[in-house]
Subunit: 285 residues, 6 copies
């Protein structure tokens, strides 16, 4: 008999029951203030992943040997961040309740908040590793508190001081830098050594890892809402996320802010796909 | 001395005091459900208007002879439709209070609601002429009531039965067609004859005219969020809006849903600019 | 429990068993001689169908009331037309064997041959209705006989004289026009009257309907490999295919040659989606 | 032995000696005031002509039966209109001196002046048939008299009153319309009837035919510097230029203002190629 | 009362009187020989600057604390380099006469000549620091001496031997390299050390700094007329221009050759905006 | 008399007889499995080479001093790899028979096989230097053995163990890595030192050098079918190929997999042109 049309990220064809990690997509970008389109990120990653090999020469392993279930994209209501975050939370909770690792594909960065709210309930001691070009620590943006520009500030309200570790930040208004310098969060330049030290300190602490892909240099990742020159190389970020996913106790993660309409050559989507592959491989022992 | 950089729609260099009509831009598209980018519409119209002559061979008049003030774009908060509509309302009210005609450049179609709320306060008897491919009459969309897909339904709540006249509609879900067929609004095929009849019936009644540019055929207007084949020709729409603006008692109007990122050749913006020129000329006796 | 990620054409969520019509996609364009990319057509149609309403105001019916199963895209080997056609044939046969109507989404036009080979086996009396800008009647093209430019010639070898009815042809080399004028196939200008006459003559005869979307005018359908000015309007083609699908005994059909990479504004994909919706609605009594 | 790489417009492989018509390209757009890129027009027409058949079903003739020589593009100095026009004139004169018909591929519309200067020397009684959206009759533009916006005014200075016949004009500043209404040139709406009348009056008079492709509607011809809605259909223009080239005593002609960078789907170039084919066929008895 | 629509580079809202630096835009590219479009550079920089923060984490200062006036773009006549350079000179002189620093946004590189002519009049001892991929030292280009390819040669005629310091040059014809090797100008590989040495030698000498953005690597700056691989990294150039603007006696500067139409992802404009921000910050003590 | 339109790669205007090296283009991409368009590579390289100087500051030599003949593109049949390879082989053989070096411009990477078959006949001891992101060592791909993904495997069948030297490979399925590790081919990371060592070992052995341009990092070379992050820098590859062409006994070479449709900014084509220039210069003593 013929089968219905199932589309997954490259090789992620495990059953839900067998899966260790579960992908879920949040096509939402209502609060993007500059260039919209991150809503198309998760489906582009899924679709274009077939340009990639399932085998990683870096980790010398094949994604077809890992048990990943792809639960697809949610249908989120543009124009209501509140409802969208609730729906993301519900899907995240369902995955957590089954003892699996939720892996969120954005969407704009605000979607992280939907996941972190649930993560914090289950893992109150969680720390957040945050890779980004922008601090995202504003109290509000044009009078709106549920905004991509405030998402780590909202997370900080949930986890408190000293629990957010930022890498790669190279943009923010003065208040955000002051917030960090006041010790509420740790904002480091991007180095693999600094990351390794942080991971060592964290030991077995539960970790949520959020990757705003604009941490990458715009030359290799043009397809994002707010490209910021002088970013991290692909090689550095690939090593960093693989390190996090293999060495830390990752209880959830996300990859956000691919905006494929600003990526006419497709290299940003290719980079995102490769990062997701490397993260999935590293999450599976 | 050198002057600051003032940018206006083609020739609209009147002072506010002298102006009969006032342009204001609403760069907002948070509720767009399919393809975002209407936020860039108003600035594209202003910027690209310089590819157009100020003289109209159709009306044999020159825009430089009309008194139009361009108040520029508002800074609207993505992610909060409520606040955005309030700000649009404030600007509209300021224009109305000075006895001038507010001419809104969207943005997505929801921005119309911000203007109509103020129009209805000042002109309780107002009728709405609505050019669009989509009925926009949904009660809600994915649980959200402040949505582009519901904007005429929200307007209907303000003006009541028999006061909305739709032209060019060729898409809607079943419930929207039933809502129209139940007599709440008038939905006609697009014909200049039908429009003329409606205008005759309206006489001196105050009229708000809202143009969702996707009423045009996608061949001449590809640059919009939800292109719908089998639309109106440019010539027909140009004649229609010129007729409305010259023959009806227009107390406010808007032009919405240009999304320039889906218009790589620029023809949609060119069409929008020409329509705005023709409307402005027709509004000035 | 969470579900796997099933992606179908708009609303086509019937089970295979219940379905009357079955969609299948052939992402193949190896023989395209001018501009490739039709391989991306079927997935673009599926993905972008969500910008469309399921309700048709033309037929006053809703696609959610029709039983369509979407079996997704095949994985076809670029570089081997022979194998690709075999795989298309297998899928088509499986659908025919269940007594359902196979509806193929191309892909370049050569894919039609894979389906027609099976159709002819089951319905030896079948006639072919062919909408296209190009005659596709060459004996060979640069020495290759399995080519998009020869596909109707290959079909003619299967069905014989007087069984192929072409509409909209406006390009071909001299030999193709002579082949038609010699009476092997019927090549008419595109008119709804001519089509109606042909349908009347066919009565209950089994019909395969193949639509090369470049029959449309390039203004409304730029996204194709070989755009040919002076084509059919969308309204005309929409009425034509709806007429065929409702009035003829259609035993199989296809829609080919959308090449979304040449469609930066997305209007071609939107047009293709709307045509597929109208055809599906008309196929279901 | 191997041959060097000769690239010509579709099938135009005659020797210079045998040719009746000679193509020459003027990749120049220095005075374009709005959107540049017409410099790429001639090479795009040559390159993309291979997407077209050499056989015309309209004229039932094949371009391979006509003797056309393609002399390629000149290397023109951007920044010096004077020198560029001189070089165009030289090439044109060389063609005229051999008794052949020079067929110029622009480039922006100013290039026409280079050809007309030579045409007038050889054919002092020449009339000019001008298809365009814009009147191009300004005395000067921003202080520059050698400008695309002034080209027909410069030609008028050469040929005098009553010798320029414009079709399709729908844009110009007030002074241009007044210039025409004062009787210096004839500006008609585009109709095949009006054109036929004009041709009848001209009889055997030498005619130069200049086609600014933006006379076409932007839906079918988006790829131009200044798209102007409400243009001529492809079918109308195709019939018009074929009529001119077959019925009038055409001693030179040009096709200008294709700007392929604003034509991401390629339909404008396809339209230009087809028009050139039809003109060439009609020029050859 | 409502205000007219004033658009400035990010935060540059000083009055002319209070300003230390004055921006002025030269949308001109008539002599561009390869790919035009630099005319759109200055307006793109202004418009897209709002995607950037006004705060610089590198300099730990905020642009809102600097007094910059944005005098907007001039209306320059395409097709007449002579006139365009005169107009640029006039604007530059007006700024210099008020004792402020003129900061020119191009346009193609020829516009620099308009500014340098005035600079040399006021500061006869001026040296020129030149960042570029191309030497721009030709005597003429296709017979034209006012050409982007000759602009530094024209400047050399004004300032004489030993006063032009080039960094980053990696393309030129043989004669240009010989001109440099003959000692007329200094052409160094790009290094921050070499730049520092040059600045030390210059001490308080007046300096004009001209940045052709194609000195950057095409990976981070694709949006330019003549991309040349193997360029400078953004970080290097950012440090270099900040060093120049803070350590040298800069009496005028420019940033040229952004061509946004070749920058579909927007990263080039983002890079240009960030460089301008850093230069403005460094210019203000 | 006027000349026909001859188009060559920058300055390659030698006669065939005098030439040392002969360019030939293979516009073929029928087996490309992911994103097609390499068929447009060779003509884009030829056309866009005029944005480049003929003088190389790296080698301090001018291409106009080298004797290169450009024999243009072949007309290859899409859909038949067999025939296409034969035609490539014929052209290669004609060049070899004249004692010249054949320099192939692809096209997809499969075209290399057409050349290598002839090279091996004339130079049975030939070694292959292979720069690529992908190993291309599959036994077959979706049942097809003549595929870009298998091309080095097919070459290995011709030359045998230890004769293929791969640099820059960073993607492949598990079987390809195993094939290499089994010693059939040598797969090294990309370093100039490793390359120099290999060249030293090869001494005067005849060498065929094949460059799949996707060996470059996607940031500088986005325009290719399967971009793979973490590639080689332009500077590294430029040095590598110049080293090979000057130090090894190169009897043939190719540059493949530029797909200009994925290169909207043109930087990939610019990079390809510059590499070809450097290779040609290095090939000429």
């Amino acid at each position: 008999m013929l089968n219905p049309n199932i589309e997954t990220f490259l090789c992620c064809e495990s059953s839900f029951e067998d899966a260790l990690t579960v992908l879920y997509g949040a096509p939402f970008d209502s609060t993007t203030s500059y260039r919209p389109g991150a809503r198309f990120g998760s489906s582009a990653i899924r679709r274009e992943s077939y340009g990639l090999e399932s085998y990683s020469p870096y980790q010398r392993r094949d994604l077809s040997d890992c048990a990943v279930f792809d639960s697809g994209d949610m249908e989120l209501p543009m124009g209501s961040s509140q409802r969208a975050l609730e729906q993301i939370g519900e899907r995240c909770r369902a995955i957590l309740d089954s003892g699996k690792v939720p892996f969120l594909l954005g969407g704009e960065h605000l979607v992280t908040l939907g996941a972190v709210r649930e993560i914090v309930k289950k893992f109150p001691a969680v720390h957040i590793l945050h890779f980004d070009a922008h601090a995202d620590l504003r109290e509000e943006y044009l009078g709106v508190s549920l905004s991509h520009a405030c998402v780590l500030r909202r997370c900080w309200e949930l986890v408190g001081d000293g629990r957010i570790h930022q890498f790669g930040i190279r943009s923010g208004d003065r208040s955000e830098w002051e917030f960090s310098e006041a010790g509420h969060v740790s904002t480091q330049p991007f180095t693999l050594e600094g990351l390794a030290r942080t991971l060592e300190q964290l030991g077995d602490t539960p970790v949520y890892c959020t990757v705003d892909l604009d941490v990458l240099d715009p030359s290799i990742f043009p397809g994002t809402g707010t490209p910021e020159p002088e970013g991290v190389s692909f090689c550095e970020l690939r090593q960093a996320v693989a390190l996090v996913c293999s060495a830390a106790n990752v209880v959830g993660c996300d990859v956000c802010e691919l905006s494929p309409h600003y990526d006419p050559s497709g290299i940003s989507t290719a980079a995102a796909c490769k990062l997701v592959r490397e993260m999935l491989l590293a999450l599976h022992p």
